[in-house]
Amino acid sequence: MNVAAPVTPTVEARNFSFWYGKKQALYDITLTMPPRSITALIGPSGCGKSTFLRSINRMNDTIPGARHEGSILLRERDVYARDMDVVHLRHRVGMVFQRWNPFPKSIYDNVAYGPRINSGLRGRELDEVVERSLRRAALWEEVKDRLRQSALSLSGGQQQRLCIARALANQPEVLLLDEPASALDPGSTQKIEQLLSELKSELAIVIVTHNLQQAGRVSDYTAFFYLGRLVECDDTARLFTTPREQQTEAYITGRFG
């Protein structure tokens, strides 16, 4: 079930299981996510794909009663290891949420937030990081003349790209996206998909999506989750044309989910 990747994977899950209290949400997931590629996680609601995504940067730590077994490796080091600093982990693994959540501050401050605190950047250097991040998120041209305005004055699609810029400002090695375009109009969705295709030359991207066409369009690899189990993971083109498992075929042809 492993994707044949010639390089060491950026993120690799090994027999990873996860519980919310007594309820098991993930069963024995083994999955590799190669660098400079986009991996899409698909599956019906409640299949565990978001739980898995949030396990990579340990956002589930904040949930009382959460528990895991197995490991998730980031460049061959277990993110759940005792000596792994969760704050540092989250610098290296950026995250973008389904519902855009910019801080109620200026556009500039939203992007400057991470580098200012984490790397202590000030003045010109900080300006440069902000500009570079906004450019990488394909937002610079739209906001360069109003960086001091409130981030909440932007449109939904722009706010979501601002959230991507904010995550990129930390120079992450991995970018996790949890249904980033599910609440956006087609135009904004297209912009974000295009943006992801450009970004993958620099980092590994993992995206959870309900939209199968989207998975087909943007991703290199697709993993199909069902009831907390990883059913199948393959090259996106192959998974969509010749799935090995019957459940996968039923899902992608729209027979359930």
């Binding site: 956002m59 704050v87 982990l89 950026g94 949420f97 801080f103």
Partner: protein, 291 residues
């Protein structure tokens, strides 16, 4: 058959309409009655106090009976000093406790603190005054501004704690997640994202608490005690508007009665201004919020 049904419907409709009008009238009257005391008090205060309320009232000291004029400058300044002391104690403790309660929600300690804070909130203020006297006045053998301010501060704590907690809970969880996902340590997330987003609401809560304690008399009776003379030192008895009003109101002199009315008018205007400021801050908060 159809006709009988229609007549029944018409009479039932008429009954319901009458019921509607009656209930509407009753709630209307209740709403009027609810504002009546304030209107009445304001009207009466203006009639009784306005003539005594000259600029002298704010700048002059009290004068002995029989002498015309005189004011309550010492009591006005005293009240401001007492409020400042109360804020210095009530705000940091209250905001800190509120932050803890909001972030720790269901912990055993949080539940206990929340309960005790509610109990403290319901404690009669005279009881607080007696305690302040026992621990802050008796050991030192003198009434003091500090003891009065601390008693008022203790009254503020539960008020500020609960409003802070409520306001922090209104901060969307998505903001908390955003900050954590950017690699913010927990404490930094709390301070720079959560507290800052909730700040206008917390300020409103603090102002409401100040308005509440500004007029308190009971906790000051055996702590700040009151002072006929000018004093701003913290370890001596200090004048306060409510105490001065009390002292003048129970005196047998007409001049002093007039002064008491004017003092009450000043006190109510101070509270009114604080309340208006609180509303303004609240409006600023909800005006700028988007979806």
């Amino acid at each position: 058959m159809a006709r009988r049904q229609r007549t029944a419907l018409v009479s039932s409709l008429r009954r319901r309409k009458t019921g509607n009008v009656v209930m509407l009238a009753l709630t209307y009257i209740a709403a009027l009655l609810a504002t009546l005391p304030l209107v009445f008090i304001l009207f009466h205060l203006l009639r009784q106090g306005a003539s005594t309320l000259t600029p002298d009232f704010f700048t002059n000291m009290p004068r002995p009976v029989g002498e015309a004029g005189g004011g309550m400058s010492n009591a006005i300044v005293g009240t401001l000093i007492l409020i400042a002391i109360a804020c210095a104690i009530g705000l940091p403790v209250g905001v800190g406790a509120g932050l803890y309660l909001a972030e720790k929600r269901a912990g055993a300690l949080a539940m206990t603190v929340r309960f005790l804070s509610d109990v403290l909130n319901g404690l009669p203020s005279i009881v607080l005054g007696i305690f302040a006297w026992q621990f802050l006045v008796r050991p030192f053998g003198r009434f003091s501004a500090l003891a009065g301010g601390i008693a008022l501060g203790a009254m503020m704590i539960p008020l500020v704690t609960r409003t802070t907690e409520e306001m922090i809970r209104l901060v969307p969880n998505s903001l908390r997640e955003a900050a954590l996902a950017l690699g913010y340590p927990r404490w930094r997330t709390s301070m720079s994202v959560i507290l800052r987003t909730a700040l206008p609401g917390i300020v409103t809560g603090a102002l409401v608490a100040v308005a509440r304690i500004a007029g308190e008399t009971a906790p000051l009776l055996f702590t700040a005690f009151g002072n006929q003379f000018w004093s701003t030192s913290l370890d001596e008895p200090i004048a306060a508007l409510p105490l001065q009003i009390f002292a003048y109101a129970i005196s047998p002199y007409d001049e002093w009665h007039a002064q008491a009315w004017a003092g009450a008018l000043v006190l109510i205007v101070i509270v009114l201004i604080i309340s208006l400021a609180a509303r303004h801050v609240t409006r600023a908060r909800f005006g700028s919020a988007t979806d």
